[in-house]
Amino acid sequence: MTPEEQQFRAELVSLLPRLRRFGRAITRHREDADDLVQIAVERALLRREQLQPGTQMLSWMFKIMNNAWIDEVRSRSRREKIFAPEESGEHIGVSPMDDHLNALAVRSAIDRLNDEQRIAVGLVLVEGLPYKEAAEVLGVPIGTVTSRIARAREQLQAVLSEPAGARGMQAAQ
């Protein structure tokens, strides 16, 4: 293994937790998210030379994941086959009760956004990318990101203000 490859792999490893998190936001499913990360890592390793010096590896990986989701993983997503509202419990993480309920309500609200809005939310609100970087990842103008984020937030506010979601959103009201 060359020193360049070693460095590349080390950086890749350090990014894995965030790739998994973004994957969860995109796919809404734990296994699909890890499959997506795996495919993206495989592609990244094959295309290592294409990463321009000075380019953020994280954004590059998000871009590969976004493309892989659109042209490969989405079609065989488990989520679509087994999705049912009562199964949204699969998003529960282990945490103190209030946070737990909040996280559940928030994630299931995000799950219900359309693909474009959900991925924009994943990049900007979950991963904290500036709009400009998110626009580069998605290959769209920055104004498109701005409007997707605004519309997504509008829907999230509406869903999370519903009586059913109220309990889970105490901290967000």
């Binding site: 894995l16 998190r21 795996q38």
Partner: protein
């Protein structure tokens, strides 16, 4: 001035230039309604970020780590893994249930535990007898080394239930059971090949099939000894 939601969102996300940001800062100080709208957006951003934050702390699947570090060659394609509903479908298959149940019971008898530790019941496999008692009563931290059934990892599943891995005496078979209130549904049972003849509780020693089921189901970390005991004292109810 009237601010659109789009602008306020961009303000909260720190996407506006300094002059516009300053003008909104000033407007918020004068206008409580505007301040409330901004606060709502800010709270939403925090809630979204917090909802996904715990994923960063989850154990990293070995397949991803091996792939990224180069410890294992890249697979041609992401492996098809058993999803929860597929395990469920397998468990619901009567024929399969009888086969694995019989194998398991055979081992259990040789290990002189009660007969019929797993029964096929209304389309699923349920723990009974020694196995059920061990799952309900035993703690990994205090169980005897020579217990007929040894429990391993305890964790909370994607369904929000408690799940526990178990191994039979002499490491002859191992599996995963999940449930609430002391009713244990056996999700998986498999023969455990064990070199030493002794089954250990460390995750690294779980049979691959059990480990895979755990990986697929675990949310967060497995419970530590204190959390395991607390869950047991609550009768495995959440």
């Amino acid at each position: 001035m009237i601010y659109s939601d789009e602008m306020l969102v961009a303000y909260v996300d720190r996407e506006l230039d300094a002059a516009t940001t300053a003008s909104i800062d000033a407007a918020i100080a004068r206008d409580p309604d505007l301040a409330a709208r901004v606060e709502r957006q800010r709270k939403l951003a925090q809630a979204v970020h917090a909802a996904y934050e715990p994923i960063l702390q989850e154990p990293m699947p070995k397949r991803l780590l091996d792939l990224a570090t180069g410890a294992a060659p890249a697979a041609a394609r992401a492996p098809r893994r058993w999803a929860w509903f597929e395990w469920g479908a397998m468990a619901a298959s009567a024929a399969l249930g009888v086969v694995i149940g019989a194998a398991f019971i055979g081992e259990a008898r040789r290990g002189s535990s009660d007969f019929g530790d797993i029964i096929a019941d209304r389309g699923q496999l349920s723990a009974r007898g020694t196995l059920a008692r061990a799952l309900t009563d035993q703690l990994a931290s205090t169980q005897k080394p020579d217990a007929a059934v040894r429990v391993g990892l305890t964790f909370i599943s994607a369904r929000g239930e408690y799940c526990r891995t178990f191994a039979l005496e002499h490491g002859s078979a191992a599996g995963l059971a999940c449930g609430a209130g002391g009713e244990w549904r056996v999700e998986l049972v498999t023969r455990a090949a064990s070199k030493s003849g002794e089954y250990r509780t460390a995750a690294g020693d779980l049979p691959a099939a059990v480990q895979q089921a755990v990986d697929g189901q675990i949310q967060g970390h497995s419970l530590d000894a204190a959390a395991e005991q607390a869950a047991q004292q609550r009768g495995w109810r959440r």
